[in-house]
């Protein structure tokens, strides 16, 4: 049988399997393995399985995943989120819609030490949601701002999604983290604007309240110095030349633990809970990584990714059209699929295709630009209905808010995200400028 045909069948079967509830890791692994047997031989597949699991995970680069996840879980348990939100609240909470902005700002701060969106959304929701409801904020605005704010967990470095992208495309993680900084700040600005417009239209949904005095404001800063310290040491250390990303994650784990021990009286049992939580999240990610690995090896055997890239290189289609096509594809898939699975599934085909196109950029710049755009569009999937992980988190935590209200609340943020995607696509320089400045 023609290898390209086998590859096509694989992709179709995979999508069908995913649509009928087959766990994504399993679907990719099984379809990949069957395809591999056809394209190479069952004998080769068996030989491959002798070492593939250990080979894949005996990896310094992948170790950064459980480390950053552990750091995030520790941060969640240490009560850092409360201090962060109180500080943001003291400075901007009194404005109209200010608590929602404080929630977004809090998410941004928490996101700067956590690599995951779900952790960010759930942690910040725990402290910000009751406060917003108490001050008369509508269910829509409070849930929407937290669901959207949660995405800052992966938009602002460190970011597990970016780590996986870097691994798949052999890009420098440090540079990608740097590249994500300006788009991350743009996201925060976009969310602020979305809130301002929203409360303009529906003033009763985000009422004003009393302004905190200067003493309270200053005191609130004192309570978050350790968050700033972790952020500065971990990311500053990585950019500033003191350690590598995985070392930075390790340092972050230890520092967060210190904060937990000395500021929040973290107990041993709570530490064990963190470790167990880390186990769950890591195993889920690693299972998908392993399944995707087999699937991608089988795709490579069929030489389909290379042929797709060749097709677009030779076809008379404007590069920007291809790029927009991919973005639309991601946005549609993002409505129903998990972000990590999407990246693992598509990047092996999309990345060579994009790199084969001429956007007038240096290859490294192009790789970073595409990485950031992928990150942003995939991240949008977290807040687009019907399947949006962040929506589920908020919904699970705010049982009194109907789902329809949550969807309504995220709409302005989705609009803000569309504007940001347009900006990032039109001005690639936003994605690589800072890297050029810092890394030379």
């Amino acid at each position: 049988m023609d290898p390209t045909l086998i590859a096509t069948i694989m992709v179709v079967v995979l999508l069908l399997a995913i649509f009928i509830r087959m766990p994504i890791a399993l679907a990719m692994g099984v379809v990949g393995a069957v395809g591999y047997s056809f394209l190479a031989s069952p004998y080769a597949l068996m030989a491959y399985f002798n070492t593939a699991w250990v080979d894949k995970f005996m990896s310094y680069e992948l170790a950064i995943v459980p480390l950053f996840i552990l750091m995030g879980h520790l941060a969640t348990r240490t009560g850092i989120s409360g201090a962060i939100f109180q500080a943001s609240n003291a400075w901007i909470g009194h404005k109209r819609g200010g608590l929602a902005m404080a929630a977004v700002a809090g998410c941004a701060m928490f996101g700067s030490i956590s690599g995951s969106s779900l952790a960010t959304a759930s942690t910040m929701a725990k402290v910000a949601l009751p406060e917003m409801r108490k001050h008369g904020y509508s269910g829509a605005l409070s849930s929407g701002s937290l669901a959207a704010g949660g995405t800052l967990g992966i938009l602002i470095p460190p970011s597990v999604v970016l780590i996986i992208y870097a691994l798949l495309t052999e890009q420098n993680i440090v540079k990608l983290f740097l590249a994500a900084t300006i788009p991350g700040i743009l996201a925060v600005c976009g969310f602020f604007i979305a809130i301002m417009v929203y409360v303009r239209l529906y003033p009763e949904e985000g009422p004003t309240h009393e302004k905190a005095d200067l003493a309270t404001r200053l005191r609130s800063l004192k309570d978050i110095w350790h968050v700033i310290a972790i952020f500065v040491v971990v990311l500053g250390g990585i950019y500033g030349g003191f350690f590598t990303p995985a070392e930075g994650a390790s340092v972050g784990v230890v520092m967060t633990l210190m904060v937990g021990l000395f500021k929040a009286g973290l107990k041993f049992s709570e530490l064990m809970d963190c470790l167990i939580d880390t186990a769950g999240s890591t195993a889920m990610i690693f299972a998908i990584v392993f399944g995707a690995d087999i699937f991608n090896v089988a795709l490579a055997l069929s030489q389909m990714p290379a042929e797709v890239a060749d097709f677009f290189r030779n076809a008379d289609i404007a590069p920007m059209t291809v790029m927009l096509g991919m973005i639309v594809f991601y946005l549609i898939m993002g409505c129903v699929m998990d972000s990590l699975s999407m990246i693992l599934l598509t990047v092996p085909v999309f990345f060579p295709t994009v790199m084969a196109l001429d956007f007038g950029l240096m290859p490294e710049q192009q790789a970073m630009w595409f990485g950031i755009i992928t990150l942003v569009v995939v991240e949008m999937g977290l807040i687009t209905p019907p399947v949006g992980m962040n929506l589920f988190v908020i919904s699970a935590m705010a049982k009194d808010i109907p789902t329809s209200q949550i969807f309504r609340g995220t709409t302005p943020f989705i609009c803000a995200e569309f504007c940001r995607i347009a900006l990032l696509v039109s001005f690639p320089v936003l994605s690589y400028w800072l890297v050029g400045v810092v890394a030379g």
Binding site: A47, A52, E61, T244, Q303
Partner: protein, 317 residues
């Protein structure tokens, strides 16, 4: 095509090794066999696994041909590793020929279950550093250097450097932010890692002196894939492998080396010379490493002293 051979290696598809060697070689195989041999390229470990598994993958038929480094699996291919000791390499072509000879004479059983197509090395490693050139033992003291392999690491440690064994990706990060001061690699890989931008000084041994180190490479083929070919096709493979191929790849690596050097020069980096006396001094200090290697070969039932002597004889010839 009558036979499709999957060639698996760890470098990206744009690397000179693929564009300047594998692709032309595959084209020659195709032409010489009247289209019977079709070599499919799988760069960047696209068929899965990590570089140390390439030899096993070839033996097991996961791929048909692989380009691999014996040092990735320490002690498994000891004769093939010998040229990777410190202070062996002269230039890539000569060292490659010497390695192929050595393997013909002593390395018979090492690659059982695989057909060996060629053995070669790259040119000697240079010291690429950020802040200062290295021309004496004193310059090495306390310098944080990334070592390319175990033996070179031992050698640099003996010379007083602080050795780290970062993977290359970490090395690039480490060099750009100053976690490490430098690395020991040939010019040939400079463009791939943009070492010319990450470092400002390159220190190379004086002409005629032995190089600091080199890595050895093996181009191997699955034995069953070879045995299953018709005699005509086998002959094409035979004609395009062995000593001539080893020499050709070695020569090509000397060209890659020259190109890498031109990139460093174009950048305006300082290129310093490590005097022959300094190299001689270092060689003396590295003797225990050679002695330990002889012992290791002896332990494996080989004549370690004879192998090392023969290697030196071939290199000095």
């Amino acid at each position: 095509a009558e036979v499709t051979l999957r060639l698996h290696h760890f470098l990206p598809g744009v690397a000179p090794m693929q564009t300047k060697f594998f692709e032309p070689w595959a084209a020659e195989l195709k032409e010489a066999s009247n289209g019977a041999i079709d070599v499919q390229m799988f760069p960047s470990m696209q068929l899965g696994g990590k570089p140390p598994q390439l030899a096993d993958q070839t033996r097991q038929g996961i791929c048909d041909i692989a380009w691999t480094l014996p040092v990735y699996t320490p002690d498994r291919f000891p004769v093939a590793e010998t040229m990777a000791l410190p202070f062996m390499v002269t230039n890539a072509e000569k060292t490659s020929v010497a390695m192929q000879t050595l393997m013909d004479e002593f390395g018979e059983g090492e690659y059982s279950g695989m057909k060996t197509l060629a053995f070669h090395t790259h040119d000697g490693g240079k010291l690429h550093t950020r802040n200062a050139p290295v021309t004496s033992t004193a310059d090495l003291k306390g310098l944080k250097l990334r070592a390319p392999n175990q033996a070179t690491g031992e050698m640099l440690t003996k010379l007083g450097a602080e050795v780290v064994f970062f993977p290359v990706t970490e090395m690039v990060v480490g060099l750009s932010n100053g976690v490490i001061d430098g690395c020991c690699l040939p010019y040939e890989v400079v463009p791939a890692f943009k070492l010319q931008e990450l470092t400002s000084f390159t220190s190379a041994p004086a002409a005629g002196a032995r190089g600091l180190y080199c890595n050895t490479f093996a181009l191997i083929m699955n034995q069953r894939a070879y045995d299953g070919m018709s005699d005509d096709v086998k002959k094409v493979i035979d004609d395009h492998s062995g000593m001539a191929l080893s020499q050709r790849i070695g020569k090509q690596f000397d060209e890659f080396e020259a190109f890498g050097k031109s990139v460093v020069e174009k950048q305006g980096n300082t290129i310093a010379e490590i005097p022959a006396e300094t190299i001689a001094e270092w060689q003396e200090l590295a003797m225990p490493i050679h002695d330990a290697w002889v012992q290791k070969l002896n332990d494996r039932g080989l004549d370690g002293a004879a192998i090392l002597a023969r290697a030196n004889e071939l290199l000095d010839a």
